[in-house]
């Protein structure tokens, strides 16, 4: 098992390297750099710009180095010192800005993942056992709808519904009266009252896909001889289904973390922008629009890392569940 985990960790290194290249590419992509646009706006507003000072700044930020040197400086800063560079817009180190936001993104992903499982596993099992029943068709219909409605449209619709019919303040994670308040039961309830919209919005597509997978897998398992045997020896029906075929059919549900997680993180980004949640999404969009590229690149890199860690966890869980993977 430990050998498997080590092998898996080693496999992650080239992927991480590739991701850092993509993030760095995005940092470098916009024409010009922040310094140039700063100088432009300063001269426009009539301020004097000292050429010596510009040269100094350029040297400090390494804008004149060849591209691979810049990449090397950037990546070693992150790996050795946790230094993600400088946010020009906020005039603070990027590392001071991102962790809160990434934490919110992480907790929202976990909440959504739990929601996806909590909804899709029972429905998936039900749909497979009662195939072609009316409820199965209803679930399938909603599943297709959930897949077809883009996150942000769903978010807008739910916002509208909750504003119009529930009279609830929408957007953000807390009502105005709780925003600055210390944590209390009231605040927690308020949080839950706000959290359901983003969780449903983010989780719906993943839930729909997982139900389809689970239904298909379980249907294949249900007709295998061992199920017939279990039933023939007189096991109660719920045990026949839950104890054997469901356990096997759950394998892909675990491995689903690997592909559901990037989707969740992706969904959180856009949903958070629409609902104005304090996750990485809105800050990333703002950073991109103002071309504060170190901040934006760091977010993109960290979101990639987040999904990679998710995949690692899903692989390890899978290996624990299924010895064939461990000893391959």
């Amino acid at each position: 098992m430990i050998r498997y985990i080590i092998k898996r960790l080693l496999y992650m290194i080239p992927t991480l390297f590739g991701m850092s290249l993509i993030a760095f590419l995005i940092i470098q992509l916009p024409p010009g750099d922040y310094l140039t646009s700063m100088i432009a706006s300063m001269t426009q507003s009539g301020q004097n710009v000292d050429p010596a000072q510009i040269a100094l700044l350029r040297r400090i930020y390494g804008f004149d180095d060849p591209i691979y040197v810049q990449y090397w400086k950037w990546i070693t800063g992150i790996v050795t010192r946790g230094d993600f560079g400088h946010s020009f817009e906020w005039n603070r180190p990027v590392s001071e800005l991102i962790w809160d936001r990434m934490g919110a993104t992480l907790s929202l992903s976990i909440a959504s993942l739990l929601f996806v499982w909590a909804v899709s596993i029972p429905i998936g099992i039900y749909s497979a056992v009662r195939r072609h029943s009316i409820s199965d068709h209803v679930f399938t219909f909603f599943g297709f709808l959930g897949l077809a409605i883009p996150n942000f449209i769903l978010a807008l619709t739910l916002m509208y519904v909750s504003y119009r019919f529930l009279g609830q303040s929408v957007g953000g994670l807390y009502s105005p009266e709780y925003t600055g308040a210390p944590m209390s039961w009231g605040k927690l309830l308020d949080l839950l009252a706000h959290l359901w919209i983003p969780v449903i919005v983010i989780g719906t597509a993943g839930t729909a896909k997982l139900i389809r997978i689970l239904r298909a897998n379980l249907t294949d398992e249900l007709h295998k001889p061992y199920v017939v045997t279990a039933r023939a020896k007189g096991l109660p029906e719920h045990k026949v289904i839950l104890k054997y075929p469901v356990r096997i059919a759950l394998n892909p549900v675990v491995s689903a973390i690997g592909w559901v997680l990037p989707e969740l993180v992706s969904g959180i980004t856009i949903t958070a922008i629409v609902l104005n949640l304090p996750t990485a999404g809105p800050l990333l969009l703002r950073a991109l629009i103002s071309q504060d590229m170190y901040l934006a690149g760091s977010f993109i890199l960290l979101m990639g890392v987040l999904t990679l860690v998710g995949m690692l966890i899903s692989d390890i869980l899978l290996a624990l569940l299924d010895p064939r993977i461990r000893f391959r």
């Binding site: 590739g18 993509i22 024409p31 619709t157 993180v265 629409v274 979101m303 999904t307």
Partner: protein
């Protein structure tokens, strides 16, 4: 599901009926080519057929947008901002108590809220705006070639208002904008898929055919790209588009960005099939006959993949449409004056607009959902029909 039902029917009726059938018909099917078999299976799937029809209609709308739209999508009338949709009526009171057939919409009356002084429009039963088919209206250049001013539907007097789906914040006709948006949104899906198809097939076949280190390298690349959460990556790439670019350049670069991330699934699919087909007898036979590698790939392996690829491609189009919509909605994709469904949804960004003018959310969102659903059902139907092992 529909497939399973048909399986069921065949199981029950198959043995009893088939011997009675005229022999000729069976032989015809037995010797039918791959495409004929697929077609036969496909047309039994009603849901997929309906979806195919909707997709065709959508592309026809895209092709004849200028003619179908009642007006110019960017012509604004400030006196009709946020005007609600008008219902169509067919009979008017002739004055002598008898009703007379005259297709029309109701004009608008302005109501001013006594507290907020905000103007709202309500349909006014007194004002009748007669409408008709093939009316003359705003001039346009059809396909950029012919000068025309004929519109399928419109007010007989072009100066009078006809807003079947309401207007936006500048008093522009939502129906016309939606129709022009169809052109941009649907074509981005098609062109984007074309680009990722090329990437996916080339890299997927290389990977699947050669195996070894080529395979490993390409698989790593796919892994990296597909592990990145797509929306942040799209955002990052789209934000780098210079503001000075022309709308056409932005359109193509957005399509490129959208397809840049869409090819991974396709490449995986192609690679998997290649691995399966590589060891098939007919490939071995062709190799023993002395076919070179290029001939093996393009003449023998790829043709047996086409039906499957077609299905996967259809299923990839909706993702592209959603991607464009999301980017434009956030304001870093396509920008006005270009009209796409995403650009239209940008107007419905805040809750205040949505609650006072819900039609700005409902119609563009509805268009996106209908298009995406149709492509999904159509693709599913194609995939089932193209699978030779599922009868």
């Amino acid at each position: 599901m529909a497939m399973n039902r048909t399986v069921h029917i065949q199981d029950e009726t198959g043995p009893a009926v088939t011997p009675l059938k005229p022999e000729g018909g069976r032989e015809e099917m037995a010797a039918a080519g791959q495409w004929k078999l697929i077609w036969h299976k496909f047309i039994r799937n009603k849901l997929a057929l309906v979806s195919a029809a909707i997709i065709i209609v959508l592309y026809l709308v895209a092709a004849f947008a200028e003619f179908l739209a009642p007006g110019d999508p960017s012509a604004s009338r400030p006196q009709y901002t946020y005007a609600p949709p008008q219902p169509i009526g067919f009979f008017v009171d002739g004055g002598d108590g008898e009703s007379r057939f005259l297709p029309h919409v109701k004009g608008y009356a302005v109501e001013v809220d006594p507290e907020s002084y905000r103007r709202t429009f309500v349909p006014d039963d007194e004002q009748i705006v007669p409408i008709g088919f093939f009316v003359e209206g705003a001039p346009y250049k059809f396909w950029g070639l012919f000068d025309m001013n004929m519109h399928l539907l419109g007010a007989l007097d072009p100066t009078q208002p006809m807003y079947l789906l309401g207007t936006d914040r500048l008093g522009r006709d939502l129906l016309s904008r939606l129709i022009y948006g169809t052109r941009v949104s649907m074509s981005i899906g098609l062109i984007g898929v074309g680009m990722s198809l090329v990437l996916g097939i080339v890299l997927g076949s290389l990977s699947g055919y050669y195996g070894g280190w080529v395979d490993t390298a390409i698989q790593r690349l796919i892994e990296v790209v597909s592990a990145m959460p797509t929306i942040p990556l799209w955002l990052g790439l789209a934000a780098a588009i210079p503001l000075t670019w022309s709308p056409l350049q932005v359109y193509f670069i957005i399509t490129l960005i959208v397809s840049l991330l869409g090819w991974t699934g396709l490449a995986r699919e192609v690679r998997g099939r290649f691995f399966a087909l590589k060891t098939e007898d007919f490939v071995t036979a062709a190799r023993l006959d002395g076919s070179r590698e290029r001939r093996l790939i393009f003449r023998h392996i790829l043709p047996s993949l086409t039906s499957h690829i077609l299905a996967v491609v259809t299923l990839a189009i909706p993702t592209m449409i959603i991607a464009e919509t999301a980017l434009s909605f956030l304001g870093i994709g396509l920008k006005p004056p270009v009209v796409s469904w995403g650009v239209l949804l940008q107007d419905a960004q805040n809750i205040r607009t949505v609650s006072s003018a819900p039609w700005l959310l409902v119609w563009p969102a509805g268009a996106v959902v209908v298009a995406v659903l149709s492509f999904n059902f159509f693709g599913d139907g194609l995939r089932d029909a193209a699978d030779p092992y599922e009868s």
